[in-house]
């Protein structure tokens, strides 16, 4: 854990030092940026249930002077638990009616960051959320004992920009009502082989287990730089092993700029 803190501190320190010594150049946020993202996620735990999630996220980034920006985001998602696999008979038949179980999540986040588009970014954010379950049979959130649970989290993050590479790290602390806090360190490395394509690899240590994955985001030029498509795959080394695949479509309002520019000067 100490190693991770040191890594993030070093990264943040490097970014701060760079920001402080940099010459005046592009603004942290060139202009008001707004995007809407629709995402479909499939999470499959071996030998257990799999989930299908549909989510809608809205994000905006607002300039605060030349060095700072603020971000606002809100999202809603609904997850359907695929229960058949765990209640069917050995011969694959399902006795009776398949039980249903759904989760939904409503969340919002406010963040403030400082950025030099040529150097990097540091950010802090705070978010809240509420998870609810709607199951035909007994289910409950353990921290609350009922069918919903409130969450809140804060995140410290930093990114370093170098040529067409971005290295990022963040640390998030989330509280689930009265349950102990959960701390997660995430490291991301991104490469822009094209200005409209980002390839990212990432990893985190949620629950002290290794989750690693890859994400591709493409902003096709033939769509006028107004749409982005992203695809990701993540795997968690645990028992049971959990694999997550996401596919999303993002619409960007406002300026039509390449993805690399959008990530470093607008988002």
């Amino acid at each position: 854990m100490t190693a991770r803190f040191s890594a993030i501190a070093l990264l943040i320190g490097s970014v701060l030092a760079s920001l402080a010594t940099a010459h005046a150049q592009s603004r942290a946020v060139e202009s008001l940026h707004f995007e809407a993202d629709f995402e479909s996620t499939d999470s499959d735990s071996s030998g257990s249930t799999s989930n299908g999630t549909l989510g809608l996220n809205l994000r905006s980034t607002i300039p605060l002077g030349s060095l700072f920006g603020t971000s606002l985001s809100a999202g809603y998602s609904e997850t359907r638990i695929r229960t058949r696999r765990v209640v069917e008979n050995e011969d694959g038949t399902l006795p009776g009616v398949r039980p249903s179980c759904n989760f939904d999540n409503l969340n919002g986040e406010l963040g403030v960051f400082a950025r030099r588009p040529t150097l990097g970014r540091i950010a802090v954010s705070y978010g809240v959320g509420r998870l609810s379950a709607d199951c035909s049979q007994p289910s409950f959130f353990l921290p609350s004992g009922d069918d919903s649970m409130s969450t809140d989290h804060y995140t410290v993050a930093a990114e370093l920009y170098w040529r067409n590479f971005t290295l990022g790290a963040s640390r998030t602390t989330v509280s689930l009502e009265d349950a102990p806090e959960i701390e997660t360190t995430t490291v991301t490395g991104s490469w822009y082989p094209l200005d409209s394509l980002r390839v990212s690899v990432f990893g985190n240590d949620l629950y002290d287990e290794d989750t690693y994955g890859i994400e591709l985001e493409h902003q096709p030029q033939f769509l006028g730089d107004g749409f982005g498509i992203h695809l990701s795959y993540a795997n968690t080394d645990s028992e049971p092993r959990t694999r997550t695949v996401s596919l999303g479509l993002t619409y960007y309002f406002g300026r039509r700029v390449p993805l690399l520019v959008r990530d470093r000067q607008y988002r």
């Binding site: 190693a3 799999s50 069917e88 353990l142 969450t151 590479f165 490395g189 002290d208 690693y212 997550t244």
Partner: protein
């Protein structure tokens, strides 16, 4: 991470790394960061465990109460945020849970047997712990799922075997009644340890089987069902008796008797029971002991109308004008009368016929020629219920197997003939037979399986109520041999028993007696009632004078 910074500085200053090499380095660093923490798994506990992975419930019968709920303890790791307990299948009625710290008590309640019927029912309970799928916990991912297999066996019940008395060393066809036979693959029927011969699954409530020749004794009826765990609850016992050979004898009544309403032979106990109007109503019981017929006992029962043995022979069912009374068949100790519900003031219970499923049909009557409701007695519930079917002062006669009951109707004031009605025990339906007549004082008779019926003492019917032939008008009482091939008539003109071969179809013409009348040891008196022992060896005739025991003529 120090290495990371160094690499970045080197890459920045010297520009020696190509894009691909730097990407590879970043990827390697990202992955190494992921695995460089406390990734030994000690800090994370998303696992859910259960104290049991299988549960078994069982109920002895479809009408038994639901088994007690069972509880499973679930323990879950400290990162589990949500616990879902889902189930499928019909075995489970409800699941409740209580949480205490990092464990929960899951209580599983089985469904009511009456809602499922008999059979084997499977359910699966799946308990899954969910934990945060991302750093901000905006979604949940599934941990392991613990499955609990639930097996719920609701056993069939063997309620009766009819007739419950069989003759030693003689095979015979019997009907087994119960609940839930069709839900299991029955491989055979056993009488004690002896396998039955051919059997037929007629319905969920009925099996027909031929029992082999058995020595005298009591044989519990059981079904061979390989998929059933344990022994079935059986209330059916086949009582196998040695054939009787009573000498012809006249047995005097201990009290004056004006009318014998019914007599029955209790083969299991070698006893004859009469329902009479003596002293306002009484049961008179004769027992044949080692030294012959013993002195009869008299049990008062005001206004007794009719008597019959229950399907299992464990009770003597007697009806008075307004109630059914169950008697111990040995001591004649009476239980609390069961009043006939909704019986109108000018109606009365008239006659009773026992069917093979521990129930009995009771007709009612009035002083007029009109229809009145039938009652149904259910032995399992010890209850009487009024049916929607109504008949006109009907007299019933059941087959020896209790598979059907024939009803003849009417009174002396009835004008025109009334339909004969047939009740099927298997279907529970009353159907009008293609025969109409007005009953007289001679009780109807049927054989063991219903191949022959004699109505009004003269008309012999075969299958589908085809009139086969007629007996003389001088017949005062008649019974059929169990196989339906002989009719034994007490003929007052002939002064004895006449035997008829009713296996032949006389196309409605008169039957000729097989030989001369066999004289009785004494005159039974007026309005005689007659019955025959299950082994067909002895006739019993009771009029207003005395009870006559007469060996069946060997014709």
């Amino acid at each position: 991470m120090i290495v990371l910074v160094v690499i970045l500085k080197v890459a920045t200053v010297r520009h020696v790394f190509g894009a691909r090499r730097l990407t590879a380095a970043l990827l390697a660093l990202a992955l190494s960061a992921c695995s460089s923490g406390d990734g030994d798994g000690e800090g994370r506990s998303t696992q859910t465990t259960v104290s049991r992975t299988s549960l078994s419930f069982s109920a002895d019968a479809p009408d038994a109460p639901a088994p007690s709920p069972q509880t499973v303890t679930v323990s879950f790791g400290d990162t589990v945020a949500h616990l879902a307990v889902i189930h499928s299948g019909d075995a489970i009625a409800n699941i409740t849970s209580t949480v205490d710290g990092r464990s929960a008590e899951i209580t599983i309640e089985p469904a009511s047997p009456s809602s499922l019927g008999s059979g084997i029912f499977q359910s699966t309970v799946a308990i899954t712990g969910y934990f945060c799928a991302d750093a901000a916990c905006t979604s949940l991912a599934a941990g392991n799922t613990q499955r609990i297999s639930v097996r719920y066996q609701i056993s069939p019940v063997i309620q009766t075997v009819a007739p419950y008395v069989a003759v030693a060393n003689v095979p015979g066809d019997v009907i087994i009644r119960g609940i839930g036979f069709a839900s299991f693959a029955t491989q055979g029927v056993r009488f004690g340890d002896v396998a039955g011969l051919e059997f037929t699954l007629v319905s969920d409530q009925e099996i027909r089987v031929t029992h082999p020749a058995l020595p005298a004794g009591r044989y519990e009826v059981q079904l061979d069902i390989p998929t059933h765990e344990g022994t079935l609850q059986s209330e059916a016992t086949l009582v196998v008796l040695e054939p009787v050979s009573y000498a012809a004898q006249a047995l005097a009544y201990p009290v004056p008797v004006a009318t014998v309403r019914e007599l029955l032979y209790d083969a299991e106990r070698s006893a004859v029971v009469l329902a009479t109007d003596a002293n306002g109503g009484a049961l008179i019981r004769y027992v044949h002991g080692p030294n012959g017929w013993e002195a009869p006992t008299v049990t008062p029962l005001a206004e007794v109308q009719d008597i019959a043995l229950a399907t299992r022979g464990d009770h003597l069912l007697a009806i008075t004008r307004d109630a059914l009374v169950r008697f111990d068949p040995v001591t004649l100790a009476a239980s609390t009368p069961i009043a006939a519900p909704s019986l109108e003031q000018d109606h009365f219970l008239r006659a009773i016929a026992v069917i093979n499923d521990d129930r009995a049909l009771i007709t009612t009557g009035t002083d007029e020629s009109t229809i009145t409701p039938i009652y149904l007695y259910t032995g399992r519930l010890a209850s009487l219920a009024q049916l929607s079917t109504a008949l006109n002062n009907a007299t019933p006669a059941a087959t020896g197997q209790g598979s059907s009951v024939i009803f003849v109707q009417g009174t002396s004031s009835t004008t025109g003939n009334l339909a004969v009605v047939l009740f099927s025990t298997a279907t529970g339906q009353f159907d009008v037979a293609p025969v109409a007549l007005t009953q007289n004082a001679i009780a109807p008779a049927m054989d063991r399986t219903g191949t022959r019926a004699v109505l009004n003492g003269t008309n012999v019917y075969g299958p589908s109520f085809m009139l086969l032939g007629k007996l003389p008008e001088s017949t005062a009482a008649v019974v059929l041999r169990s196989d339906g091939k002989r009719a034994y008539a007490y003929d007052t003109d002939a002064g004895g028993i006449l035997v008829y071969d009713v296996s032949a179809d006389r196309e409605g013409e008169a039957y000729a007696a097989l030989g001369p009348a066999v004289p009785l040891p004494a005159n039974p008196g007026a309005n005689p009632r007659m019955t025959i022992s299950p082994d067909d060896n002895v006739l019993f005739i009771a009029g207003d004078a005395q009870l006559i025991v007469q060996p069946t003529p060997a014709l």
